[in-house]
């Protein structure tokens, strides 16, 4: 088991290294970002000065090694828009807000998906099952940024119950962005819970449990659910990446002042250090979350330890 975890950790380390490399490659795709950063109005001297400041006049492999070492030391370049602050400081200041939103959405989608998916599987082909599955099909097909706008239209503009935008740590400000961000994952997880439960409910050991005369509630919650939950854990880990990606748009709709909005604004204002850093931070945290999920697996599913 220790060996399995060690292997996952080593693997995650190399993926993080790959992510840092990928971010370096992406930001060097155009060759020289300085022209993009400074815009059309920049003079030749300006461009030359910034190139030297950022070390862009040196060979590519030196730039790469410098980038690696500065990332490892946590020494990120200064933001071009917010002078005097390092890009890392700015990103980390906004990050908790994105995490709050993503966690709220994850909680909502997992809890509701498990409830609806299980009901649907147990009452297979009933009216409830059909309604839940139809809603899930719609939920998967509604672009969540449109859902967000419609929620604003209904609950903020017409009914006036909830604020239409802004960041505040209060339920009123959190409700609409959370629903918006949670909806696609909720639909997907509901369908997965249902099919996972159906598969387990058809298995031999459930038939045995029923034959023993156990009550249906015990069969479903003690015996079936535990095994049906295993594949869900993986999907939840992957979904967290979808949430972090989706948060970029959701934050833009609701002017939620997190990393997503920071990233988009940094793109508009060509603040390359901030773009680089926010992409890096989001991707690395996604890798770490999946590492945690992998390790949780050894505890949930003993079979994994043996392979």
């Amino acid at each position: 088991m220790g060996q399995y975890i060690l292997r996952r950790v080593v693997h995650a380390f190399f993926v993080v290294l790959g992510v840092v490399t990928a971010v370096f490659v992406i930001t060097n795709l155009t060759g020289d970002p300085v022209q993009l950063m400074l815009g059309e109005a920049a003079t030749a001297q300006d461009i030359e000065r910034v190139r030297r400041e950022l070390g862009l006049d040196r060979p590519l492999y030196v730039q790469y090694l410098n980038f690696l070492s500065s990332v490892a030391r946590g020494d990120f370049p200064e933001s071009l828009r917010y002078r005097g602050y390092s890009a890392l400081e700015i990103v980390l200041a906004r990050y908790p807000r994105t995490i709050v939103l993503a966690l709220a959405a994850l909680l909502v989608s997992v809890v509701l998906a498990v409830v609806f998916g299980t009901i649907s599987a147990v009452k297979r082909y009933s009216v409830i099952d059909n309604v839940v599955m139809l809603l899930a099909l719609f939920g998967q097909s509604i672009p969540n940024f449109w859902l967000g706008i419609m929620l604003i239209l209904i609950f903020a503009v017409n009914l006036g119950w909830l604020p239409s935008q802004g960041y505040k740590l209060s339920p009123a400000y959190l409700i609409l962005p959370t629903i918006t961000l949670a909806s696609p994952g909720l639909a997907r997880l509901t369908r997965l819970t249902r099919s996972g439960m159906l598969e387990v409910l058809n298995s031999d050991y459930i038939r045995t449990a029923r034959a023993k005369g156990l009550r249906e509630r015990v069969v479903i919650f003690r015996h079936a659910f535990k095994n049906a939950a295993i594949p869900l854990v993986t999907v939840i880990g992957l979904d967290f990446g979808v949430l972090l990606g989706g948060a970029i748009i959701t934050e833009q709709i609701f002017q939620w002042d997190g990393v997503g909005q920071l990233l988009v604004n940094a793109i508009y204002s060509r603040d390359f250090p901030v773009i680089q850093t926010s992409v890096l931070i989001i991707a690395v945290s996604f890798v770490l979350i999946n590492l945690i999920v992998d390790i949780m697996y050894t505890w949930l599913d003993p079979r994994v330890r043996l392979t």
Partner: protein, 319 residues
């Protein structure tokens, strides 16, 4: 006696039907007739495709040129306040059945022309991503060893980026535009295809027909593309179908953020961005393009569900 014998086959008749060999295509079509949602999805998607092709015949308005005196006209059957000072509320008319936007452009014509962008991007991104990914997966699974390890580790790095984040990051550097968006969405999705293909190849490699083909001296490339790939294509088709829907949503998302195909083309995502800005005054700006995206994506998902059920018997038993 003869009477009794005649009654027995009626019990077995359904099995005779099952036993009859049918091609996968026939089976799929047969299931489509039984699967009403699949049929509905096909009907909706056909309508969208037709509307996109026939756009110039469906509307006489240019999707990019507006009449500023008719800005923010509301849809037919609804009333809205006039934007001319002192005027009485105006009623929407059939001139602009879905109303006009903040520049007086006809929403209906923007939606039908926008369908072109969505469908082209969705289809092209998936064809490109699936082609690239499954080729790599084929190579990876067939040759194994270092090639396999390298391709899969690169894939791990790509998967470490949330789909939309990777697309946004690349567009941020390369800039938007139709071709860039297609390429970016393809780059962001090749890994699952590679993994699916690799898995199928690994199991196909041990099949007797492959061993037999190799024994009679079929060369690697021919073996890969003629014998192995066609037998692994089913899960790729199913995943690809769902991915068209995902790509359409992603394109709309990029355009919504102003990082998509650009403001020179009417797209559903651009329209939604305008709609967000005018959500307090003109509800129709965001409502109709969103409905268009939803219907298109819904129809593709319905077709995907049907394809999966029809082509993949294992999944059919579970669902």
């Amino acid at each position: 006696m003869a009477g009794e014998r005649a009654s027995v086959p009626t019990l077995l008749t359904p099995f005779a039907d099952v036993r009859a060999r049918r091609s996968a295509m026939q089976r799929a079509l047969r299931l489509l007739r039984r699967n009403r949602l699949g049929l509905l999805g096909t009907a909706i998607l056909s309508t969208v495709v037709l509307a996109a092709i026939l756009a110039p015949f469906l509307t006489s308005y240019d999707p990019m040129i507006g009449d500023i005196t008719k800005r923010l006209t509301c849809p037919v059957l609804t009333w809205c306040p006039s934007f001319m000072p002192g005027a009485t509320p105006v009623r929407g008319s059939l001139d602009h059945p879905l109303g006009t936007d903040q520049l007086g452009r006809d929403i209906f014509s923007r939606i039908v022309y926008g369908a072109r962008v969505s469908l082209i991007v969705g289809l092209a991104a998936v064809l490109l991503g699936a082609g690239f990914g499954s080729t790599l997966g084929l190579v990876s699974g067939y040759y194994g060893g270092r090639v396999d390890a390298l391709i899969m580790r690169i894939g791990d790095v790509f998967l470490a980026f949330p789909y939309l984040l990777l697309a946004i990051a690349i567009v941020a550097v390369l800039g938007g535009g139709l071709l860039n968006v297609i390429i970016v969405l393809a780059i962001a999705t090749w890994v699952p295809y590679a993994r699916i293909m690799r898995g199928s190849v690994l199991s196909a490699k041990e099949q007797e027909y492959v061993i037999a083909a190799r024994a009679i001296g079929v060369r690697d490339l021919a073996l890969l593309f003629k014998h192995v790939a066609p037998n692994c294509i089913t899960p790729i088709i199913v995943f690809g179908t769902f991915n068209v829907a995902a790509a359409i949503i992603a394109e709309a998302g990029l355009s919504f953020l102003g990082l998509g195909v650009g403001a020179t083309r009417p797209t559903w995502g651009n329209m939604l961005a305008d709609g967000r800005a005018y959500v307090a005054t003109a509800w129709w700006l965001a409502t109709f393009p969103g409905l268009a995206i939803m219907l298109t994506v819904l129809s593709i998902n319905m077709i995907g569900d049907w394809l999966r059920d029809a082509l993949d018997p294992h999944l059919r038993n579970i669902e």
